[in-house]
Assembly symmetry: C2
Homo-oligomer: 623 residues x 2
C-alpha cells in the first residue's frame, strides 16, 4: 500500500518581518497533493497578540478540506510526561472562542482566545472537550489556488492570584474585544515596522562572515522576542520561552549574562528583570532564614522567587545569585542613570543582600580574614570549598556598593533615605560591620605569580591534564562517579576569570593574561556560558585567534544544533553571552574601532541611555 508522503519541507524565520513560516507538500494516499503553509508571528507591540495564517493550495485536485484548530490545554510536559494545565472555563461569544487554564502546581492562570478570518463560503462549528475548545472548518479548495485561514489569538496571563477566575476571564475577554478589529495583514505590517526599528538600532554588522552575521542576528532577534519587559517582575528561564527543559527556571544567568543586552538595547526590559528580584524579595528573606542567616538569599533556580533546586549542595552552597543581583543593579544604574529605581527599590535589595552576606560569612581562625566557608562558586566542579575567590571578591564589591549607595542617597534624598532606613531598621553599626568585613575580605592570591587562587587550597588540588580525558567520557556528569568530578584542579566554567570579566576595568592586561593562562588550560567548558567569557578575555589579552576559536560556536549554537539538544529549547542565556562576546570581546579586539562604531549604534538605540556613561562603561571595559 502506498503511504502518505511529505516533500519540500521548509522552515524560515524572517528576522526582518518577525514571521516564522513552515511549508511542505503533502502527497496523500489517494494521490492528491496539497501545499500547506503555516505562518506565525508573536506581536512585539501588543504582547498579548499572536497570529497564525494557514494557506492551503491543492496542487492536483479540487475539493473540500476539513481543518481543526483551537486552544489545547491538554499538552503533556516533555520532560515530566505530565499534563500541568487544567481547563477552568471555556466558551464562545461574538465570534471569539476562549478558554481559561490554570497551572497545576503554581496556580497561575492563562486566558487564551482566538478569532478566525475565514474565506468566503467556509463553514465552521465549535468543538469542545475537557481541555480543548476549537473549530472544525470546512473549506472549498480550488485546484492551484490558495485558500487562506487566519487565526488571531489574544492571551492574557495572571500570575498574581489576586483575581477570581471570572475576573481573569472578563479582563481577557475585554482585551480580545479590544483587538477584535486587528487582522493578520495589519498585525504583520505593524510587526515589520517594529523589527525595522529594532534593526535600525540594534543590528550588529559583521563583514565577510555571513555565518556569524546570520548567527548574531538570530541572537538579537531571540533576545528581543524572549523578553520585552512589558510585564515587570518576570524573569528569563534558561530556555527563554522556547522549551520545557529546566522547567522555566531562571538562574544567575539573568543578571550575569542577559542583563547587559537589555541595558544597552531595551533599558525598560533591564529594569523589569531587576523588578523580578524586588518583587521576590520576601521569598529571599524567608529563604535566608531557612539558612539561619539574616537578610535576603536569592535562589539559585527559581520561577516564582522560591528555591526550586532540590540539591542542597547547589541551593545552599552557591551564594553567587545575590552578588549578581547587586552587580546587575550597579550596572543598570551606571549605564541608564536610573537613580529613581536605585533609591526606590535597588538600595533596599542591596541592604538585604548585605545582611545575608554579613551573616553567612565567617572569620578565618588563622588568617583573621573574613570570607565564606562551605561554598560552591560559579565553577561547579569544586563542590564545597572555603574562601572561593569569586564569592569573596563579589561580596566585597557588593558591600562597598551598598555603602556608597547609602551615602549617596543620604545626600541626594535625605528624607526618603531616612524613611527607608527606618523601615529596614538599618543601623550605623551594621554599616560599620559591612565595611569591616569588606575591608578584611580574604582574596586568595599568589603574589609571586599574580594568580588568584580559586579557593583555599586550590593550588594543591591534584592536577589533571584535561586533554587526557577520552572524549567518550564527556559529559563527565554522565560518565564519572559523582564525587570524582570534585577533586582535581579541573574547572567547569570561569570562576576567577568570571570576576576578571565582570570587573574588567580593575585588572591589568598582565593580570588577566596570567590568570587566563592558568585557568583556561584547566577549564573543560561543560557549560554553554563558558566559551564566551574566555573569548572576551582572550580578545582583551591580545589573542585574536583564541578569541575567535571560543567565539566560533557562540552565535550558531542552536541554529546549527551543535549540542544536539536544541529540540529541548534554545540556549537563551548563552545567546546573550554571544552578544556580549561580540560587543565586549571583539570591540576590544579591533582596538576600539568596533567599539566606537558600536557606541554610535547604541547611542541611537536608547533615547534614555546617557551616552557619556555608555562611553565610560565601554572605555573602562577595554583599557
Amino acid at each position: 500500500m502506498r503511504t502518505s508522503e511529505f516533500t519540500d519541507f521548509r522552515r524560515e524565520l524572517d528576522f526582518k518581518r518577525g514571521v516564522y513560516t513552515r511549508q511542505f507538500i503533502w502527497h496523500m494516499q489517494n494521490r492528491k497533493s496539497i501545499q500547506l503553509t503555516f505562518e506565525r508571528l508573536i506581536s512585539m507591540q501588543v504582547s498579548n497578540l499572536g497570529c497564525q495564517r494557514i494557506v492551503l493550495k491543492p496542487l492536483n485536485f479540487a475539493g473540500t478540506a476539513q481543518v481543526i484548530t483551537g486552544l489545547d490545554f491538554a499538552t503533556i510536559h516533555e520532560d515530566q510526561d505530565t499534563r500541568y494545565w487544567e481547563g477552568v472555563k471555556q466558551g464562545s461569544q461574538h465570534g471569539i472562542t476562549a478558554m481559561l487554564g490554570r497551572t497545576a502546581n503554581t496556580g497561575n492562570r492563562l486566558f487564551s482566545s482566538y478569532r478566525l478570518d475565514l474565506p468566503m463560503g467556509a463553514k465552521s462549528g465549535t468543538l469542545s472537550e475537557e481541555n480543548f475548545i476549537g473549530d472544525e472548518i470546512v473549506l472549498n479548495l480550488k485546484k492551484g489556488e490558495e485558500t487562506v485561514v487566519d487565526k488571531l489569538v489574544i492571551n492574557y496571563a495572571d500570575k498574581d492570584q489576586e483575581q477570581s477566575d471570572d475576573e481573569v476571564w472578563s479582563k481577557g475577554m475585554k482585551l480580545a474585544k479590544q483587538y477584535a478589529e486587528v487582522d493578520y495583514k495589519a498585525a504583520a505590517e505593524q510587526q515589520e515596522q517594529y523589527w525595522a526599528k529594532v534593526w535600525e538600532h540594534s543590528d550588529i554588522v559583521i563583514e565577510g562572515d555571513p555565518e556569524n552575521q546570520q548567527g548574531i542576528r538570530f541572537c538579537i532577534f531571540q533576545l528581543y522576542q524572549t523578553y520585552h519587559g512589558d510585564n515587570p517582575g518576570f524573569n528569563i528561564g534558561a530556555k527563554g520561552l522556547t522549551g520545557e527543559a529546566y522547567r522555566g527556571l531562571a538562574f544567575w544567568d539573568t543578571e550575569s549574562y542577559c542583563l547587559p543586552f537589555y541595558i544597552f538595547n531595551n533599558p525598560k526590559a533591564a529594569r523589569s528583570l531587576l523588578e523580578f528580584r524586588y518583587k521576590t524579595l520576601p521569598q529571599a528573606l524567608e529563604r535566608a532564614k531557612e539558612l539561619d542567616c539574616a537578610g535576603a538569599f536569592y535562589p539559585i533556580a527559581t520561577i516564582d522567587g522560591t528555591e526550586s533546586c532540590d540539591l542542597w549542595q547547589h541551593s545552599n552552597l552557591q551564594l553567587h545569585v545575590g552578588t549578581a543581583v547587586a552587580y546587575g543593579i550597579r550596572h543598570y544604574v551606571n549605564i541608564t542613570g536610573d537613580k529613581a529605581f536605585l533609591y526606590e527599590k535597588g538600595l533596599e535589595m542591596l541592604i538585604q543582600i548585605s545582611r545575608f552576606y554579613a551573616t553567612r560569612g565567617q572569620w578565618g581562625q588563622k588568617t583573621g580574614k573574613y570570607g565564606y566557608f562551605g561554598v560552591m562558586g560559579p565553577d561547579e566542579f569544586q563542590l564545597m570549598v572555603n574562601n572561593n575567590c569569586y564569592i569573596n571578591l563579589m561580596a566585597k564589591k557588593m558591600f562597598d556598593y551598598t555603602l556608597e549607595t547609602i551615602a549617596e542617597m543620604e545626600q541626594a534624598q535625605l528624607s526618603a533615605f531616612v524613611a527607608l532606613a527606618d523601615r529596614l531598621e538599618l543601623t550605623v553599626q551594621e554599616q560599620m560591620e559591612w565595611k569591616n568585613k569588606a575591608d578584611n575580605m580574604k582574596i586568595p592570591y599568589d603574589e609571586e605569580t599574580g594568580i588568584y587562587e580559586e579557593h583555599d587550597g586550590f593550588f594543591d588540588m591534584p592536577h589533571l591534564d584535561i586533554h587526557s580525558i577520552p572524549v567518550t567520557e564527556f559529559p563527565l556528569y554522565s560518565h564519572w562517579s559523582y564525587d570524582r568530578l570534585y577533586r582535581y584542579d579541573m574547572i567547569k566554567q570561569p570562576d576567577v576569570l568570571m570576576f576578571m570579566f565582570l570587573y574588567s576595568g580593575e585588572f591589568s592586561r598582565e593580570a588577566k593574561r596570567a590568570n587566563y593562562d592558568y585557568y583556561e588550560t584547566r577549564c573543560i567548558h561543560e557549560s554553554s556560558l563558558s566559551p564566551s567569557i574566555h573569548s572576551i578575555l582572550a580578545a582583551e589579552i591580545d589573542r585574536p585567534a583564541e578569541a575567535y576559536k571560543f567565539f566560533e560556536f557562540a552565535t550558531r549554537l542552536d541554529l546549527d544544533n551543535y549540542n544536539r539538544n536544541t529540540r529541548e529549547g534554545l540556549h537563551t542565556t548563552s545567546i546573550a553571552a554571544a552578544w556580549m562576546n561580540i560587543v565586549y570581546g571583539f570591540g576590544e579586539c579591533a582596538r576600539m574601532e568596533i567599539s566606537w562604531s558600536l557606541i554610535r549604534r547604541f547611542q541611537s538605540a536608547g533615547a534614555n541611555i546617557p551616552s557619556q556613561s555608555l562611553i565610560r562603561e565601554l572605555s573602562s571595559r577595554s583599557r
Copy 2:
C-alpha cells in the same frame, strides 16, 4: 464502667541464668485477677533454639483460660510502617508447627517452628492465617495455682539463596525434630551452665560502684548474646538484634568498636566478623568500580555487603571502613596469632583494600604529597575535605601492614603466596607504588604545637565556642540548616583522637595531651561512640576525673535510657565501646594494676589466645 488494670509489672534480665522474665497482675473488668509470668531465653549453645514459658496463676478465681500463641510473620516494621515478611509455607507435623517466611527486599528466608509442652487436660487446635500459624489453647486454671505452658522454638535462617524453599523447609524441620526432646527445664539448665562459664572467664569486677558493676555486666551479657560467631560471615547491626532502627545495617563500628571485645573474649566470633568482610569482598570490588577505582571499597552502611547508605556525601566520601577492616585484621592476628586466617583470607582483603586506596588517592600539586581529596573522616561535621589526617594516616598504616604481610607470607608459605599473587595478578610494581604512597603520605601536623590538623585548612576554620550553643538547638541535625553544621572548627566525634586511640602505642603522652586539649574542647559528642574514646585518652593523659566524666554514661546508656531512645533498640556498638572504656581506659588509669588483673582474666578466657602477645598488646597500649 470499670476498666481492665495491670499492676505489679516487673521485668528482669538474669545475667547469671540468661533468662528474661516479664510479670504482671491483670485485674479484669469482671473483678477476676490473674498473675501472668513470661520467661524467655535464647539458647547460647544451640543458636537455633529459643524457649518461652508462660505461667498463669489466677489469684481470686478458678476457670478456663484461652491462650493463643504461634508464629507471626505479619509484623510491621516500626520505622518504615511496612510489613517486610511474606509467608511462603506453613503447616503442622508430629506436634511441630512451622512456617517459612521470606524478606521482601533481600529474599532471605527464615524457617521458624515451635512445639508446645502443655499441662495435663489442656486442649489445643491449630489457627492458620495468611502470615500467621498458631495454636488456640484452652487451659483449666485452679485458684492460686500455677499453670505452665512451654513453647520451644527452632529457627533456621537461609541467607545464601541457593536452596529451594522446600530444601530450607526440610532442613528446618530436620533441626526441629532433632531438638524435639529438649524441654524448657533442660534448656534453662544448659543456659545457666553456659553463662556460668562466661562469667568465670569474662567478668569484670568493679568494687564500690554497684551501678557501673551492673552496667558493665549488662554490656558483657549483651555483647555475648548479640554475636556468637556460629554463622561465619554475619555482621553486627548498630542495634544488634534488639531493634529496627538503622534497619539492621552494620557500620565501621564493627571493626573499630566491637571487634576488640570479641578478640579477647570470643576469638571465634572475632574471626567470624572478619569473615563477613571476606564473604562480601565481591560486592566491595564492584563498589570500587562504581567509584571509578580499583580494588575493594567497603560500604559505609551494609547488611549484605552492598552499599545501603543513599547519601552520596557519606557513601562516596567516607573512606574509613576499608582501613578499619585492615586494622581489624591486624589486631585480630596480632592477638590470636591466627596466621591461617591471615594467609587464606586476610591478605587477599589487604591487597584489594590497598588497590582501592592506591587509586582513590592523589598527589597534591603544591606539596607533592600523597593523600585523599574530597573525603569525610569519622568526624561527620567536616563534610568534604582534603587530606583528612585520620584517613591519610590509617591508609599509610594499611599500606605498610599489607606490604609487611606480603613479605611475611612469602617467607612463611611461598607456594601458597605465589598462588595468591597469581590469582590476584599482584605485581612488584604495584607494591612499590604502595610503598611510595605510604612513604609520601601527607600527615597534616603543626610542628610548633604538636597538633595534628584534622584536614587541610582545619586550623583556619571559623571558631565556635561549643558551650555557647543553646541546649535547645541539640541535636544540631534537627535544628540547624544542613550546611551550617559544616563550617566551624566544631567536631562531632573523635577524628585525630581516634587514630591516637587506635595507634595508642605510637604517640607520646605529651602528644596525646596536646591533641586532646585542642580537639576535646571542639567536640560536641553527637555520637554515642564519642565519649568512650575521650575517656580512654583522658585516662592515658592522667586526667582520671575527666576520664570518669566521659565514662559515666557508658555502661548504663540503655539500662537508664539516657538518650530516651532505647525503645528503638540498644546502642550495641556503644556497649562495646563501654567495655573498651574500662579495659583500655581504666586499665591504664590504675597504672597497670588493673591491666595485669585483666590480663590474668583474659588468659583464662580464651584457650587460643597466646598470652605473650596479649601482654604485648596491652603493654604497648599502656605506655
